[in-house]
Amino acid sequence: MPKLGLNIDKYLRTQVLPTVWCPGCGNGNIVEGLATAFSRMEVDPTRVVVVGGIGCSGRTPFYVQTNAMHTTHGRALAYATGLKMAQPDLTVVVTAGDGDALAIGGNHFIHAARRNIDLTVLLYNNGIYGMTGGQRGPTTPFGSRTTTSLAGNIERTFDTVEIAMAAGATYVARTTTFDMQEIPLRIQEAMAHPGFAVVEILTQCPTYYGSLNQLGDASDMLIWQRDLTDGVPVKMLNREELLGPLRTGVFRNEKVTEFTQAYSDLCSQVGGNYGHN
């Protein structure tokens, strides 16, 4: 979107740009969406921590001019849980890829959701492992080609939204880098939500997913994303078609006791005073 009138540079660590990502990668658009949300919400950068895992998306914390924690593969949510519990009035945003959050980090994802701890998770879903060069992941669509599924992926695909909801996330949304206006809106909603909030963002990987599956360049992949998500109701997990349609939007937005609040209540109950700095 035009950045007219909004100085998002304030929320960018411009001295480390350009980003590490390949030409045409949509991750930069998500960073832009995040900086835009920060900008609109006028957050204090010293009171925000962006926590990333390992993988392309995990590099996000380097690019936003807030506190940044680049952790280990799959564990970002566990780090973030400790951090948030230690200082509950910090705003903690977790950026994780589909591999980071749902393959190696799947367990922390479901448990953070179960606890309903006040974290905002931006789940960058490009359907492939980018940083290591294009291997199959848990969200790689059935039948897709990757460097470890050259004859087509035979594994079934996770639906992030389904998993997040079953595990107990209280805000769940999905959007795409095609729908770029939506990204900051969803992030703002998620950050404003007191509880575990997941925004899945489909993002294009032209270098690996696109080229291995002959989807054209980054521009072509945006159109593909649009078609992929074009108003069709969300499918259950069992889809075994290549590139099945996925609905975008907000799937859940419920208020349920948040975990740091529950912990605070517990402490009060036994005479403790939690949450001061």
């Binding site: 590490v20 990502w21 390949c22 940083m131």
Partner: protein
């Protein structure tokens, strides 16, 4: 510390990811193998491999290659501006940079650099993608690291049939472009480096 004549050439190929540097490295290594030489080749890998300047390093040698990594290159082929900026410091004291002609204006002349119009030649052939093969041809002419025949055979083994004719032509063009520079650039320094 003593130095030992190793009869080996250390080569670095660098350019944008889209310029076929990796394939270039493989073809050059293959040519050395066809020539019966020892070779160790290593290409950029891992995180951030795709950003900035792509590179492929080779050591081509008559004898066993002990230390297999290029820290300082005898020949540095630079097809792009970022590659030039990033790697020019890795040229050895006696090394020769072979760079894209269009960089001459910004970078200036030096006895350590020879500029060759790879881009223009490639576009003339139809695609900028041929820059890598043209570069290989020039490098081979200037370094004498591998024979032209082996390089041709390596191209035959490694490029797709549809573009073979153009690639072999690119090799010829590069060879000619490189050969033209030999009188100026090649003194005693590399004439017998590898062969």
């Amino acid at each position: 510390m003593a130095t030992i004549e190793r009869d080996q050439v250390r080569i670095r190929l660098a350019g944008r990811g889209s310029q076929g540097i990796m394939l270039g490295g493989t073809i050059l290594a293959e040519a050395a193998v066809i020539d019966g030489l020892m070779v160790a080749e290593i290409q950029e890998f891992g995180p951030e491999a795709r950003l900035g300047a792509a590179k492929a390093d080779l050591i081509i040698s008559k004898g066993q290659i002990a230390f297999p990594v290029v820290h300082q290159a005898d020949f540095l082929l630079c097809l792009s501006r970022p590659a030039y900026v990033r790697y020019s410091t890795t040229l050895s004291m006696n090394g020769l940079m072979i760079a894209e002609e269009t960089l001459r204006e910004e970078m200036g002349d030096s006895f350590r650099v020879t500029y060759i119009p790879f881009r223009a030649a490639a576009l003339e052939l139809g695609k900028e993608l041929y820059s890598n093969i043209i570069g290989l041809g020039a490098l081979a002419a200037l370094s004498n690291a591998v024979t032209k025949e082996s390089l041709q055979n390596a191209v035959r083994a490694r490029v797709e049939t549809e573009t073979l004719t153009e690639n072999l032509a690119a090799l010829d063009i590069g060879y000619e472009l490189g050969y033209k520079q030999v009188p100026q650039q090649i003194g005693s320094r590399w004439a017998n480096a590898a062969r």
